[in-house]
Amino acid sequence: MIRLDQVSKVFNQGRHNEVRAVQDLSLELETNGVTVLKGPSGSGKTSLLAMIGCLSRPTSGRIHLEGRLISNLPERFMTEVRRATFGFIFQRFNLIRGLTVLENVMLPAYPLAPEPRELRDRALALLRQFRLAERAHNQAEWLSGGEAQRTAICRALINSPRILIADEPTANLDSQLSRELLALIGELADQGKGVLISSHDPLVFDHARVSRVVELRDGRLA
């Protein structure tokens, strides 16, 4: 359960270009199933996702994750919560060029410093699961769009998070690949992962696997 009380996020506070991305938003979200934050660009869904995923702190208001207040944690502790709870899939895949697929997947685990062999095995198992095993030692920039997206999912899963957060995951994929991705996400939901997606793609929020849709407009619930 994620609970938001009167959450606001303001950028460039007190300056002439001040932007209120999210305004006094209160919301309760179940963490199981697939939840979609829907809305046009600029509606504040990405900012909201970032705050829920402990990537940024609200300017005011409180966020509770499973009853624990996380909105006033300093970065050091927010990162800990994030590493343990969330896995991220980004719009532009955001793989690091020059590193191999395997290295990209292992990257989020580096600060946790697991046993190297154990980490490698874990990563390889994920790659096998997502049909990337033969790509493991290729450089990330040689991958096709679908492969890059699947690598990003493996990377999001490496620390075994409970909740997966995907920001506009289909924006750079054609319809065929988008459907494949949504099928994969559905499988993950079946395995008990909560999934939070922000999107303005009907393919996403009309998908059969989606349990609930939250609509945003101008930083408020629509």
Binding site: L55, S56, R82, N94, L95, L107, Y110, P111, A113
Partner: protein, 377 residues
């Protein structure tokens, strides 16, 4: 503890691979860095070895040298002073020395002529320093012809050459017999150039010097430790001056390093953003960047120091020996004994790695505080 070390290993791994992915960007910095270390290390090693060499030579020189002064100018020493000085308590040995300089117009250089106390050459023969021999193109058995103070030609057979070990001071040396010396320079028979006293107990040297100044007020005693001290101070000054001169270069290097660290490419910025987003903390990025700097510094420091070491000890500091040695015309072919000195390495470290780190702290921190949600914007 294990986790802590393992985490550092992961971070180090990542920073090395990050360095390897952008060789172009780091190569320029590495080269400049190495060059700076090389320049500084060469100067320090070279002047330090000059200083050591001087100390080694002076180690067997006498504790006290007495010169006579007339009107504040160095004058020849009457032979009967020798007897009076020998009487002073604590003096274990006293003898007069004969030495002087000779300008050889043929090679436009000054020689130092000296009568050695032990094993002086037989009359008519000399032993030559390597510099003189080189300049004149002479070897053992050849004859060296010089025009004396009176204008008469003199001819000496070369009985031997001096060892190269201490060439720094013996390069321009010419050893000859006392009679030859006096005839060659028309030197008065009852005079010496100066007197030398041996004092066995080092704590008595000062006392003896005081007594000399009392008994023979027209003389000046010079202590070996004073000479050593002067050398030390002199070489210290030279090193300091060179470093001040290199200060400009150092400053340029610092600015360059700052610029390199601050001018992150869009690609690097994106990369750090990704790391932050997928779960790296500011501290992790800081440490990763720190390892990157450490790897660069270590490489540059080792490479620069080794190059300087080879330059000074194997190539006799070919690049700037003429400036720093400041000898006469006969450059000694100086091959110092290799050494590594902790103080020096530490000093060098403070002049190179230290400014480099200071220059990069703020840029690294700036990179590390990239917002984790930036990749989503």
């Amino acid at each position: 503890m294990r986790t802590l070390l393992r985490r550092q290993r992961y971070l180090l791994d990542y920073s090395l691979s990050s360095l390897a992915r952008r060789p172009g960007k780091h190569l320029a910095l590495l080269m400049v860095y190495t060059l700076v270390v090389f320049l500084l290390a060469s100067t320090l090693l070279f002047t330090q070895s000059l200083r050591r060499e001087a100390a080694l030579i002076l180690a067997d020189s006498p504790e006290l040298i007495v010169q006579r002064l007339i009107a504040g100018r160095h004058d020849l020493m009457p032979a009967d002073y020798l007897h009076r000085l020998g009487q002073i308590r604590g003096v274990s040995d006293a003898y007069g020395r004969l030495w002087g300089y000779f300008y050889d117009p043929a090679v436009k250089a000054n020689y130092t002529l000296l009568v050695p106390r032990e094993e002086p050459p037989t009359p008519g023969e000399v032993r030559l320093g390597a510099g003189v021999a080189r300049a004149r193109g002479l070897g053992v058995g050849d004859y060296l012809s010089l025009r004396s103070a009176q204008g008469e030609p003199f001819s000496f057979r070369i009985a031997g050459l001096l060892e190269a070990q201490t060439e720094l001071v013996s390069s321009d040396l010419m050893l000859l017999n006392a009679e030859d010396f006096r005839r060659f320079f028309a030197f008065p028979a009852d005079r010496f150039t100066d007197l030398v006293l041996r004092v066995r107990n080092p704590s008595e040297v000062r006392k003896v010097a005081e007594k000399i100044a009392l008994t023979l007020p027209d003389t000046r005693p010079i202590l070996r430790e004073e000479i050593l001290r002067t050398y030390d101070a002199l070489f210290g000054w030279r090193q300091g001056l060179v470093i001040l001169l290199l200060g400009g270069a150092l400053l340029a290097f610092v600015i360059f390093a700052f610029d390199r660290a601050a001018g992150l490419s869009a690609e690097e910025r994106r990369e750090i953003g990704i790391l932050k987003a997928i779960g790296w903390e500011t501290g992790d990025v800081l440490r990763m960047k720190f390892w990157e700097g450490a790897a660069l510094s270590l490489t540059a420091f080792l490479a620069g120091y080794l190059l300087a070491y080879a330059h000074v000890f194997f190539f006799a500091a070919a690049l700037f020996a003429p400036v720093l040695k400041g000898w006469a015309v006969l450059y000694p072919d100086f091959r110092p004994l290799p050494f590594i000195d902790g103080l020096q390495v530490a000093t060098l470290f403070f002049f190179t790695v230290f400014p480099y780190t200071v220059a990069t702290i703020v840029p690294i921190w700036r990179a590390a505080i990239t917002d984790p949600d930036q990749v989503m914007r």
